[in-house]
């Protein structure tokens, strides 16, 4: 089990005590009813299409994941060694639940699935990702996305 509890005591203590950035008063957007939401996934697992540029140390850039990208085309180039990858090797849905999201759209639980999803590489200061979040916000709007599920790793 790659749990924080499994880390050596000194690293566990340091990891848990890391000071996170402050964001002040949180904006809170009320989406349409779930059955009408168009949903995109944004992952920080450093996943991408085979052949895409691998992620680099503290990079704030992103990769695009098409809605119909086949499971066999996914790879991961996250810089961290400190999380389990064997789950992702067996089933991408444990990190990026694209199949589950498509099933929920077919069942009418959500309205539809976005044409494009996005992947960042965690272990990057959020400020470095911010300009790229602003950039993909424009494409998310063009894709008529109304709700986003954020998937850490």
């Amino acid at each position: 089990m790659v749990q924080v509890d499994e880390f050596p005591d000194d690293f566990q203590k340091e990891f848990r005590a890391r000071v996170m950035p402050e964001y002040g008063d949180a904006a809170f957007v009320k989406p349409p009813e779930l059955k009408d939401c168009r949903v995109a996934l944004i992952s920080t697992a450093g996943v991408h299409r085979r052949g895409d540029r691998p992620f680099t140390h503290e990079s704030g850039d992103y990769r695009i994941i098409e809605k119909d990208l086949a499971a066999e085309d996914f790879v991961m180039s996250h810089v961290s060694t400190n999380f389990d990858r064997s789950g992702f090797q067996q089933d991408i849905n444990v990190a990026l639940p694209l199949d589950r999201l498509n099933e929920l759209a077919e069942e009418g639980v959500i309205g539809s699935v976005a044409d494009y999803h996005y992947a960042f590489m965690g272990a990057t200061p959020p400020g470095k990702m911010k300009p790229n979040i602003e950039e993909i916000s424009r494409t998310l709007k063009k894709d008529n996305v109304t709700a986003i599920v954020l998937c850490p790793v």
Binding site: F11, G87, R100, I148
Partner: protein, 247 residues
């Protein structure tokens, strides 16, 4: 992750998320988060458990229906999956007769390649069984990867096998591809190993683990700040840190 939630809400999108590290999420206080007990690397619980994954996803989406935020809710149910065998998992591949004829301290390239050749049938099986492989981010053959890492240990300025990227990244991608090959090979074998048992096998019982420990020591001793930083937890993970200095 929660930081992205704040940025996206300010841009007009409703967001909801999984949390894997409670302490961090409580500090960031994102608009909506489902606090889970899942392992790092497994935000939707467990592989090949579609019903469980779907329940987690639905619960995460349901946070979008709340009228006021921030919304932080708990998911307490443990993820399904194998529990660690008290006797530990053992790789059934016989690394025996002939393997010890090559000393990893004398000829690390041949020693590691012998081990890899023993695993190749299992990796072929893994590709068929899993329908995919995550090996290949370096886009190099295994012998090129091992040759480069062996050369790097001898001389950190050894010619890079990949153009257009910094040295640390070439090293990292080679390491990640080796790990993907070994883990996938083990996943195809009989018996069910937990990820922790796989890591214990990979970082302690394989010949390649000797190479990784040496590589870690070399990175720790360089003047290159990024390689030095990689040696802290970027080559051998935190939960296997006790393997360092074992050679």
């Amino acid at each position: 992750m929660g930081g992205l939630g704040h940025f996206l809400e300010r841009a007009g999108f409703a967001t909801t998320q999984i949390s894997l590290v409670r302490e961090h999420t409580l500090q960031i206080n994102p608009p909506r988060a489902l606090l889970t007990p899942f392992e790092l690397g497994r935000p939707f619980g467990a592989p090949n458990e579609p019903e469980f994954q779907k329940r987690v996803l639905v619960e995460t989406l349901n946070l979008l229906t709340r009228d006021k935020g921030p919304v932080l809710e708990e998911w307490t149910e443990a993820a399904p999956g194998p529990k660690a065998d008290l006797e530990g998992w053992t790789c059934p591949v016989d690394f025996g007769p002939g393997m010890d004829a090559v000393d990893v301290n004398v000829d690390p390239f041949t020693a590691v390649m012998q081990e890899i050749d023993k695993l190749r049938p299992w990796h072929d099986t893994a590709e068929k069984k899993l329908g995919r492989t995550t090996f290949g981010i370096a886009n190099l053959e295994l012998d090129v990867i091992v040759r480069y890492l062996v050369d790097f240990i001898e001389d950190t300025d050894a010619p890079l096998p990949l153009s257009g990227m910094p040295r640390y990244q070439a090293v990292k991608l080679c390491i990640d591809d080796l790990k993907a090959f070994y883990f996938e090979s083990a996943l195809a074998q009989p018996g069910v190993a937990t990820d922790f048992e796989l890591a214990n096998w990979y970082y302690a019982e394989t010949i390649v683990s000797d190479m990784l420990v040496r590589l870690n020591s070399v990175c720790a001793a360089t003047d290159d700040a990024v390689l030095k930083r990689m040696s802290i937890r970027g080559i051998i993970p935190a939960h296997q840190a006790h393997r360092k200095n074992s050679c």
